[in-house]
């Protein structure tokens, strides 16, 4: 009798393992650490994630696999192929940028440090495990490991009702989506008798005709859990509230790493496991893609720039729209003879999106250093206050829109577009083109806002000013309302503290760059450098879009 004990290739699982172990180490260290040393935990996290990224280097051949069955056709549960490596790079790099963003937030909002870093690392470990897993059970477990800490992260601001509501909404809807997915997996298992993706594909090839309906239903239901994480319409409704309620770095994390968990899971189940049912999931994903990009972009259009948190809300809706583009190559895979070739375009697009979206969130965090309302109007005339930040933000937004000089955004969009055309999905290509045009409007409007001329009266958004504005709303002062910012605190000149507050703001404005925390600067610089490097040499990630990754 052969031993049932599966051998473990520790090098292959190192990126996931290092992330998870760092998480445990941080949690235990936090218990015995004096409060004044807590900032150290953030740097331990960053070091751990950097180490995890380095662990990807020995794997670049993409031929390692582990947790294999010792009997039968030796199916493996963990495969470190090029697809897994590319997505793991995205996840670990995204988590690294998020960690850089978080250092300041954790300190300023007095979030529980040990818990915050532990949850972030746990979630990242799950998201890194997901693209490498090759059986349905590991996939679902990885999806949950990525999701469960995220609920807690969203609700980590103690005593904040908005944060708690966002977490609850996110938790309940996510759990329902996972339950539906599990039901689908159980149907597929009933129809094929296996959980390993390759065996499932073989089993679905010749399903007992009586089980055809069961298998098709199972295939569609399985997609739900992953579509939820990707925030595809109609599973998107949690996105705006969760992003606004969560600490800003967590919103950035969800928009990038959460999405990568969703699309990599979708790619694996559709292209690898459910290949024989391409005529079922292909049209489903195509409709999902069209709905997602249209809903996301139209909702982003309707955001009012002067409302609280409108910048985060706009990025939330734009991330829904971008999820639609990520879905296009996956849908195209359902119509193409060689589905595995299509997935590369999604991975390339996701890498581009991760860099520039995290960069955009980082600049929003930077602006919030002085004007904590997260309003779009807070970005007005950023160029005159902090030219470098405005230029990088403009670059990130143009990348998201897909315009030069954001060359990489343009190329990634073209790669996605080409998959739709190549597989005969003309209508989806048209929908995508229309959506890219819609998105131009709000991205360009934001970019224009950055470079607008500063208004003479500074918009009073300091905490003191907001406090007085809310405590004395009844006093109808003949306000010196700022022309460019309607509805934004009609500057009650009567109150002394407000005058002092706004003059203090005005006086502090020119010295903005000096007060910016270093980790935040590092995050923005890193994202900008990556974005510029990719724009200069787009073949770095577009190589993924040609040829197969599996």
């Amino acid at each position: 009798m052969t031993s049932l004990v599966q051998s473990v290739d520790w090098v292959a699982v190192a990126p996931v393992l290092v992330t998870a172990l760092t998480g445990l180490a941080v949690l235990v260290t936090d218990l015995f650490l004096a409060p004044r040393h807590k900032p150290l935990l953030g740097w331990v996290t960053i070091a751990g994630l950097a180490l995890a990224a380095l662990c990807l280097i020995p794997l670049t051949d993409g031929d390692r696999a582990t947790f294999c069955l010792t009997t039968g056709d030796r199916q493996c549960s963990y495969v470190a192929d090029h697809f897994a490596l590319a997505v793991q790079l995205l996840v670990v790099g995204g988590a690294l940028l998020t960690a850089l963003l978080s250092v300041t937030t954790v300190r300023r909002e007095a979030l529980p440090a040990g818990e915050y870093w532990f949850l972030l690392l746990s979630s990242a470990a799950g998201a890194a495990l997901l693209p490498a897993s090759r059986d349905l059970a590991t996939l679902i477990v990885a999806l949950e490991v990525a999701s469960l800490p995220a609920f807690a992260l969203v609700g980590l601001r103690r005593g904040d009702r908005g944060s708690a509501e966002a977490a609850l909404k996110f938790f309940l809807s996510s759990v329902v989506a996972t339950a539906v997915s599990l039901l689908g997996v159980s149907f597929v298992y009933a129809a094929t008798g296996s959980l390993h993706l390759d065996t499932v594909a073989g089993g679905l090839d010749d399903v007992d005709p009586r089980l055809n309906a069961l298998a098709a239903l199972g295939v569609v239901l399985t997609l739900v859990g992953f579509a939820f994480k990707l925030a595809a319409v109609p599973f998107h409704f949690w996105v705006p509230d969760s992003y606004v309620g969560a600490p800003l770095p967590v919103a950035a994390y969800l928009s990038v790493v959460g999405k990568s968990a969703g699309f990599s899971g979708l790619a694996l189940v559709t292209v690898v496991a459910f290949r024989p049912y391409a005529d079922t999931w292909g049209p489903a994903l195509a409709v999902l893609a069209a709905l997602t990009m249209t809903t996301g972009n139209v909702a982003a259009l309707r955001q009012r720039p002067d409302q609280p948190a409108s910048a985060v809300r706009l990025l939330a809706w734009s991330s829904v729209g971008q999820a639609g583009y990520l879905l296009v190559p996956l849908a195209a895979a359902g119509y193409h003879d060689d589905p595995e070739e299509m997935v590369g375009a999604t991975v390339a697009y996701a890498l581009m999106y991760a860099v520039v979206n995290l960069g955009a969130f980082a600049v929003v965090a930077l602006v919030a250093e002085n004007r904590p309302g997260h309003r779009l109007t807070d970005h007005r005339a950023l160029f005159s206050r902090n030219p470098l930040a405005a230029l990088t933000m403009g670059f990130f937004l143009l990348c998201l829109a897909g315009l030069p000089p954001g060359v990489i955004g343009l190329f990634a969009k073209v790669a996605v577009f080409r998959t739709a055309v190549d597989s005969g999905l003309g209508w989806l290509a048209v929908v995508m083109a229309v959506n890219v045009t819609i998105a131009l409007y709000y991205y360009l409007k934001w970019t224009a806002l950055l470079f607008a001329t500063p208004t003479t009266a500074t918009p009073t958004t300091t905490p003191a000013a907001r406090a007085t504005a809310t405590t004395a709303p009844a006093a109808p002062t003949p306000g010196t309302a700022t022309p460019g910012a309607p509805g934004q605190a009609t500057a009650p000149t009567a109150t002394g503290s407000t005058v002092a507050g706004s003059t203090a703001t005005a006086a502090r404005e020119p010295s903005v760059p000096a007060s910016v925390p270093h980790p935040l600067t590092a995050a923005i610089a890193l994202a900008a450098a990556l974005g510029v490097a990719l724009s200069g040499a787009p073949q770095l990630i577009l190589r993924l879009a040609s040829g197969t990754l599996f």
């Binding site: 004990v5 445990l24 235990v28 218990l31």
Partner: protein, 119 residues
């Protein structure tokens, strides 16, 4: 039949212990009654009249229930390992120790954060 002999012996031992304990307690235990001893026993808290419609429970009960589940789950994983201990060998032992260690982190966390203190 021989295979079941140990079970019979175990059953006999259990019966002797159970009956012996009760008898021994009745014979040699001092029986001094006080007020607390004749009150109804409700999980260690004083029985109080409940409010109409159920009243409120302290949230600590839920915390305790959650902690119980953590260690309950640990047992669920320990059981199949114990059954197939021979097949798993040293590898299984090391894996289970690592698993128990990871669960112990949860225990350490609860302890340091004051989850084990009732008030």
């Amino acid at each position: 039949m021989n295979a079941y002999a140990p079970i019979l012996v175990l059953g006999g031992l259990a019966a002797v212990f159970a009956i012996g304990s009760v008898v021994a307690a009745a014979l040699i235990g001092p029986s001094r009654y006080n007020r607390a001893k004749v009150e109804a026993y409700e999980c260690g808290i004083e029985p109080t009249p409940q409010a109409v419609g159920g009243g409120r429970f302290p949230i600590k009960y839920y915390l305790t229930a959650m902690l119980f589940i953590i260690f309950d789950i640990e047992i669920i994983f320990l059981y199949p390992w114990a059954v197939s201990f021979d097949a798993m060998g040293l590898f299984g032992l090391v894996e289970m120790l690592l698993f128990a260690l990871t669960v112990a982190v949860a225990y350490a966390y609860v302890w340091r954060r004051g989850g084990l203190e009732w008030d």
